[in-house]
């Protein structure tokens, strides 16, 4: 007996981007009415000025559908060209049904392979790496990858150390084939986990069921362990830090973003490397933050088609993943 496999392609690339945020803006002044905090304290600690919070009747899947539809439109593909949908999320209201199948159907990608990935704030980079390999192996023609989160459902609105950080949004990318080596637009993923310190970011299954984070421990981990992951992603793609045009780390906390950028510059990244700071007006939106930041930067003209962007996600698990991509 002999199995047959489709021939593998040279690689994969991003064909389109899209994102969605709820309309409702929550400022630092709004939060100061609910918990003991103030605008300056929040700006100093996390770099956030305002964030978007979804109303009760806007679901995580609603946001995923909107971002996903925009990415498909941007890619120029028809929904019929897409056969796989991956939703990275860690904030679905219930374990089943998953987000991906409903999202696929509502975007118009019927009978799609559809599954969720939970690697929290590293989720988008995990899903993007998976999608790139599915396309390269010939398992999928084109895959829609979406990071979507409704963190407001899980945040403890009495906890001033976390309620100032998190927000709601979705971001998406369409991944398609690169037939030749010159077309490859998604580098190999560098990923891993640190389950030994899993409890530092958790949603307790006990009485409260609210998000808890040991901020100082997570800050130390993120500011020291993530730059090496980013450097590994650069090396795996056969590049050097000086090749990177744009750094788009998970928008966890502006001070973590700046610390990662500083470490990369110390290792040869350029001073003029642009660094995503979407967190300032979007908050920390977990798996949505990277594709949304990339989409926003493209709209603002701060990244251009063909430029090299270094993505790196990190968060609960603890999990981390990064790769270099060519901006669509």
């Amino acid at each position: 007996m002999k199995f047959s496999n489709p021939p593998a392609l040279a690689g994969a690339r991003i064909l389109g981007l899209g994102s969605y945020q709820p309309d409702h803006v929550v400022t630092n002044h709004d939060l100061a009415q609910r918990v003991e905090t103030d605008d300056q304290w929040i700006r100093d600690r996390v770099g956030i000025v305002e964030r978007r919070i979804a109303p009760e009747d806007l679901s995580l899947v609603d946001m995923a559908v909107e971002a996903g539809s925009r990415a498909v439109k941007d890619s120029g593909l028809d929904t019929g060209d897409i056969d796989t949908v991956i939703v990275a999320t860690c904030t679905m209201p219930n374990p089943i049904p998953n987000a991906a199948a409903q999202t696929a159907d509502r975007v118009g990608i019927h009978a799609s392979a559809a599954f969720d990935v939970n690697a929290a704030c590293a989720g988008f980079c995990y899903a993007l790496g998976t999608a790139a390999d599915l396309v390269r192996a010939g398992t999928s023609k084109n895959t829609l990858v979406i990071g979507a989160e409704k963190l407001s459902d899980w945040v403890d609105w009495e906890d001033r150390s976390t309620c100032i950080i998190f927000a709601d949004a979705a971001g998406a990318a369409v991944v398609g084939p690169a037939a030749t080596e010159d077309e490859i637009g998604i580098g190999p993923v560098a990923w891993g986990s640190a389950g030994d310190i899993a409890s530092t970011i958790r949603i307790l299954g006990e009485s409260t069921n609210k998000l808890h984070q040991e901020g100082q421990a997570v800050f130390r981990w993120a500011t020291t362990k993530i730059a090496p992951v980013a450097l590994e992603a650069i090396a795996k793609a056969g590049l050097t830090p000086a090749d990177i045009d744009v750094l788009i780390p998970h928008q966890a906390n502006l001070r973590i973003v700046e610390a990662v950028a500083k470490r990369l510059r110390a290792k040869g990244a350029r001073q003029d490397m642009r660094v995503a700071d979407d967190i300032v007006y979007s908050g920390n939106t977990s798996s949505a933050s990277i594709p949304m930041a990339m989409d926003h930067m493209r709209t603002a003209g701060t990244i251009r088609s063909g430029e090299l962007a270094l993505l790196v996600g990190f968060g609960a698990g603890l999990s981390y993943a990064g790769q270099v991509v060519v901006c669509p």
Partner: protein, 80 residues
């Protein structure tokens, strides 16, 4: 092995780089929080850099005990 004066000088340089405080302000009697107005996240950054510079481990629990610059110099001196 750095002596206490060298540790203080090195630590002051780290504090200046992380928190933008002039090295002359960073003396042994100063409290990180009350006198130098350094927040908890900057303290983590200072600890991480001090670990690299002096070859010590400063876990978060220990970090919380280091109230003054002098406390940090003593801890680094004993543990390097």
């Amino acid at each position: 092995m750095a002596d206490n004066a060298e540790i203080l000088t090195g630590l002051a340089e780290i504090v200046e780089e992380v928190a933008g405080i002039d090295t002359a302000e960073v003396s042994a009697d100063k409290s990180f929080v009350d006198d130098l107005d350094i927040d908890s996240l900057s303290m983590v950054e200072i600890a991480v850099q001090a670990e690299d510079k002096f070859g010590v481990k400063i876990p978060d629990e220990q970090l919380a005990e280091l109230k003054t610059v002098g406390d940090a110099v003593d801890y680094i001196s004993k543990n390097q």
